[in-house]
Symmetry: C2
Amino acid sequence: MKIEARLSRGLRDLFPEEMIPRQRMLDVIRGVYESYGFSPLETPAVEYLDVLSGSAGEEAQQSMFRVTNPEEEALGLRFDLTVPLSRVVSQYGQQIDFPFRRYQVSPVWRADKPAPGRFRQFTQFDIDSVGAPSEIADVEIMAAMCDTLDALQVGRYRVRFSSRKILNLLLSYAGIPEDQGVHVFRVLDKLDKIGLPKVKLELTTGYTDESGAPISGLGLSDRQAAQIETFLGITGETRAEALGKVRELFASVEGATAELDEIQTISDHLEALGYGSDRVMLDVSIARGLAYYTGPVFEANLLDAPEFGSVFAGGRYDNLVTRFGGQPIPATGASIGVDRLLAALVHLKRVSQPKTTAQVLVTAMDGSLMSEYLAIAFELRRAGVRTEIHVGRPKKLGKQLQRADRLQIPYVVIMGGDEAARGVVTLKQMEVGREESETVQSHEEWKAARFGQQEVPRTELAATLRRLLGH
Amino acid sequence: MKIEARLSRGLRDLFPEEMIPRQRMLDVIRGVYESYGFSPLETPAVEYLDVLSGSAGEEAQQSMFRVTNPEEEALGLRFDLTVPLSRVVSQYGQQIDFPFRRYQVSPVWRADKPAPGRFRQFTQFDIDSVGAPSEIADVEIMAAMCDTLDALQVGRYRVRFSSRKILNLLLSYAGIPEDQGVHVFRVLDKLDKIGLPKVKLELTTGYTDESGAPISGLGLSDRQAAQIETFLGITGETRAEALGKVRELFASVEGATAELDEIQTISDHLEALGYGSDRVMLDVSIARGLAYYTGPVFEANLLDAPEFGSVFAGGRYDNLVTRFGGQPIPATGASIGVDRLLAALVHLKRVSQPKTTAQVLVTAMDGSLMSEYLAIAFELRRAGVRTEIHVGRPKKLGKQLQRADRLQIPYVVIMGGDEAARGVVTLKQMEVGREESETVQSHEEWKAARFGQQEVPRTELAATLRRLLGH
């Protein structure tokens, strides 16, 4: 019976043109994280369902892929890397050397409604410092965010940070009971998406959205909504200026000084290390919806591709492992949405998308020279040049050049019987752009530039290619 | 309600000491494969159950993890990377530029009975050339196997190769009907495991194993079993010698010359490229149980760690995609069992297993110097030195040194108020082994060697560490 070759909805294959820049991106991120001494951890994709649930929001619960093994256990595919981390920290307890500074880059699965650019398997790249109460750990996460974005050459970006503690001061300031906080923060988190007027309505009386659906309000008073609006209006050219305005607004709130001193310390350290307000700004409107944050929160946006939203986000969560019944352990970290960041880099044309890793194609025209073609290919490989050899029956050169063209292989080596006898090969550059270059010195060189083709002694081929490829 | 932090059976977490050498190993393999112009592909972990089944043996079927999405579709976790590859090739058809030379490194899942060293999620690293009928493609796979093992410095190894075609000649030679071939090959594949006497019994009358279970025989005659024994006895110092003996034995078999010429061509190419009989031997006893092989088959063993079995195996399979109803497409490839190979490398002490990526720990004793400690850490990171900074409250130096010791961080930077004032730091090497070194030139250097401790001007710290770390 014929089986149809197909994928379930929301799943996709990643071909070389997607994988090559992705792999490069992951290598760069890994390099930055390791420079901070973060170390790799890997956890299995499959976890017990009760381990995955609990901390998950209702939405995450419904969108889980369920798994069973032959023992018929209730399992699921992880939907993030934070739950497995907290499971690991609880499970191994004091066998772990704290602070545990780990990174993990792994796929996660969420069976959300498929939409353009939204897939049910995607990759997260997380760093976390677990068992690190000091604000130094938060400084490091934010600095690593900047270093990563710089290393990826994303262009202009902005890391915005605030603190759950500032939001708690806001609750005191506006006289909102603490247990209403999470609901308020969840509304504030929508600010970028729905705008201030709707946020105010949702904080107070509620409203009816475009589709006619009623959005219920939290029942705050107009005065409270106005106080929140004043707070959200705080901006500053520099972190110091913004922090000064927060201090002023919360002057009367008990305990505000100590809490804000912590923000000050973080800001001062960042400044001293060269992470100025142009890259890391204090933005008190950052709420981060998740209930588990307890301290600083941060997210990063690309200024030249704002439509991609936050490409990097995180914060401090000092109580996460308590759901496994353990003592609270202070932790702080951030997560990159790899697929989203890569999509943004592609959009910004910051990455190239070659269709193959090969830099050279050694063509095969003459079957009797096959061992020569192979020898050339292996010579090049050993010289560090990524080389494909034509692995079909020898056939027309044109077809082989077309392949090099389609796969964007920059160079092609051609050798017929005559050339073999003379100990030379023809080296062809597939994309020729410098026809009338002023740097041309000789007739030979002019021909190479004009037609992208030059004759090279076999013995000099590897060195020539290394030079051309900038090795 | 408290949830117990635990993993389902056969699953495991990989901590930094396992992940760091693993990551290095994967980088090395990737480097070799890319030098051949193989390009990365990634497919989702979840496939339709009917896509996964079919080509899977019965054992693979029973050991599958079943998956469902919110749409209640029948899905499963892939158990190898060959089925997804054949699905991709069928699904995208002529959109793919053949030969499609891809590598994929990904986890696969098999819910086998857990045993020591055997896990239900493990990683495979596959290369395949799809759409490549030429024996050049097979030569490349075997050469890449050798290059990979060399690059990983596994010590002595042996790639053994044969061909399904030689086995088909054996069928003709011994007068065994073709449709019995797969069964015969499956018995021959057990040769390494159960030995020749039991193989002969299983080919003929069957036998009763140690546990008293009856092993049924294939019913071949004693003469046929003897012919197979003669065949299996073929050895040779060189591939040429072994091939000569095969030619002799099959002299009377129709079509043998042409089939054996193909092996000859492969062997000659390998020889010319420097892959001699010491590394790649012709071993006609290699059967590879899987039904889908159609041409050359190969596997690699580590001679210094034979107990790990084959760490690398593959072959040519020209009919795989036909189960999706397409035209046969010629393909050849090989797969590394990453976990098994890594376990062998650990056993052979060919890899180090540091507990962290950090090369230096910047300690923090004096809270008032925190911004100095941070500045040092960032200076080192920017100089390419992987640096951890103490991210707790400043505490006793002894505790911090103990951490460096436990995590095997080779160097520690120490700075108190006095040193800060003098613009110096103390650089301590955690493992001191060159007490009486003859290379010692000065008293300062002797002290450093004796106690692993030296005073370094702050401005020279990064350069000193880069030198010590061999950057």
